[in-house]
C-alpha cells in the first residue's frame, strides 16, 4: 500500500517544488512557435526553414546530421572514408540504425577491390603468392580476392615474382598493409550517401500528410522529415533539431 502511494507522493512533492519555482517567477509554460513570422491557424500549415545542413545516411539506415559547417560537404561529392570520418566528427545530431528507409541509402555499387591497380594476388591455389595458404611467402593482405594480371592457372608464375623488391602487397618491406594492392580501394561510396539542403530551404510538413493522416515521404526533403520525426520521437523538443517543433505539432495532432 505504501509502495502504491509513494509514486503519487513523489509526484505531489515534485509538483510542489515546481510551484515554489513558479512563485519565484519561473514561467510554468513554454511556447514553441510554429512559425516565427505569423500565427498559424492549422496544424498542418507550419513551415520549416532549414538552416544549411547535410545528412549522411549509412548503409544500416543510421544518419548523421551536420548543421555547423555543412558547407564543407557536397551531396555530389565522391565519398571517401576520410569524408565519412570527417562528417561523423562534425555531426551535431545522430539518429540510430534503421531510421532511414532503404531508398535513401547508397545505391552505388561497391568498387571492385581489384580495379585499384593492385594485382599480384591471385585466388588460385598456386601455392605461391597468395595468402590462402601458409606458404610463408609473406603477403599480408588477407582480404583481397584480386587476381594477378595473369589469369592462367599454371600454378606458378602469378605471385611467384612478388616476394621480393616490388612495391606491392607482398609483405616484404613495403608499407601498404591496409590498402589493397597498392591502389586504394575506398568502399565508403557504397556505404554512405550525403544529402545537403541549402540555407533557408523551406519545408511544409503538412504537404506530406494525406487526408487520411498518413505520411507520403518522397524526395530529398522527405529524408529530412524521416530524420526529424525520428529525432522528435527520441528526444522531443530537446536538442533543438531544426524544425522539430513544427513537426512535433503535426505528429501530436495526428496522434502519432
Amino acid at each position: 500500500m505504501v509502495k502504491q502511494q509513494e509514486p503519487e507522493q513523489n509526484f505531489v512533492a515534485r509538483r510542489r517544488e515546481l510551484l515554489k519555482l513558479g512563485a519565484a517567477g519561473m514561467p510554468m509554460l513554454l511556447t514553441l512557435k510554429a512559425s516565427a513570422a505569423q500565427p498559424v491557424h492549422s496544424a498542418f500549415d507550419c513551415l520549416i526553414s532549414l538552416p544549411e545542413m547535410c545528412i549522411m545516411v549509412g548503409e544500416d539506415g543510421a544518419a548523421w546530421i551536420v548543421t555547423d559547417g555543412a558547407g564543407r560537404y557536397d551531396a555530389g561529392e565522391a565519398i571517401t572514408t576520410s569524408t565519412v570520418n570527417s562528417f561523423k566528427s562534425d555531426a551535431s545530431y545522430v539518429v540510430p540504425a534503421g531510421t532511414v528507409p532503404d531508398r535513401y541509402r547508397s545505391q552505388e555499387d561497391c568498387p571492385d577491390p581489384c580495379s585499384g591497380g593492385g594485382g599480384g594476388h591471385d585466388d588460385e591455389d598456386d601455392g605461391w603468392g597468395d595468402n590462402d595458404e601458409d606458404d610463408g611467402w609473406g603477403d599480408e593482405d588477407e582480404d583481397d580476392d584480386c587476381s594477378s594480371s595473369d589469369d592462367d592457372d599454371d600454378g606458378h608464375g602469378n605471385g611467384h615474382g612478388h616476394g621480393h623488391g616490388d612495391n606491392e602487397d607482398d609483405g616484404w618491406g613495403d608499407h601498404d598493409d591496409d590498402d589493397d594492392d597498392g591502389g586504394e580501394v575506398d568502399d565508403a561510396i557504397c556505404k554512405y550517401k550525403i544529402y545537403c539542403y541549402g540555407d533557408n530551404t523551406q519545408i511544409a510538413p503538412g504537404n506530406y500528410v494525406s487526408e487520411s493522416g498518413n505520411w507520403n515521404i518522397s524526395g530529398d526533403t522527405g529524408l529530412y522529415l524521416v530524420v526529424a520525426a525520428k529525432y522528435a520521437d527520441l528526444y522531443g523538443e530537446r536538442g533543438n533539431f531544426p524544425g522539430v517543433s513544427c513537426l512535433l505539432s503535426i505528429l501530436i495532432y495526428l496522434g502519432q
Binding site: 509526484f11 515554489k20 510554468m28 500565427p39 507550419c46
Partner: protein, 105 residues
C-alpha cells in the same frame, strides 16, 4: 486574451476541443489548434488547465481549488501566484473568459 486587470468575478474556462496534448513523463506537450503553437507545460500549469476544463472558475474559486489540488497552503500559493499562472495561460490563448459570475446585490 484579457488585457489590463482581471476582475475577480470573471469566469474562466479551458476548452479541451481547442487543443490536443501528449504527456512525456511530467511534461505535457500541448498543441493549440487555434494558434498552431505547441506549448510545453509542467505539472503545475497542466493542473490549472485540468481544473478549468472541469468547470469555469473565477479567480478566487480557482485559487481555492488549485491549492486543494496541489495540496498546498495559501502561504505557499498566494492568490497572486494563481493570478500570474492564469495570465500565462490566458496570454497564449489556452484558456478563455466565458462571462462573469453574478454578484449578489
Amino acid at each position: 486574451m484579457a488585457s489590463g486587470p482581471i476582475k475577480q468575478n470573471w469566469l474562466w474556462r479551458a476548452n479541451h476541443s481547442q487543443y490536443v496534448y501528449q504527456q512525456f513523463g511530467d511534461i505535457y506537450y500541448l498543441y493549440s489548434r487555434l494558434s498552431g503553437d505547441t506549448h510545453v507545460l509542467n505539472s503545475v500549469s497542466i493542473a490549472m488547465i485540468g481544473l478549468l476544463e472541469k468547470k469555469a472558475h473565477t479567480l478566487p474559486s480557482l485559487a481555492k481549488a488549485f491549492r486543494k489540488e496541489l495540496e498546498v497552503s495559501a502561504d505557499e500559493c498566494p492568490d497572486g501566484v494563481v493570478l500570474r499562472l492564469l495570465r500565462e495561460l490566458d496570454d497564449v490563448g489556452l484558456i478563455e473568459r466565458v462571462g462573469e459570475k453574478a454578484v449578489a446585490s
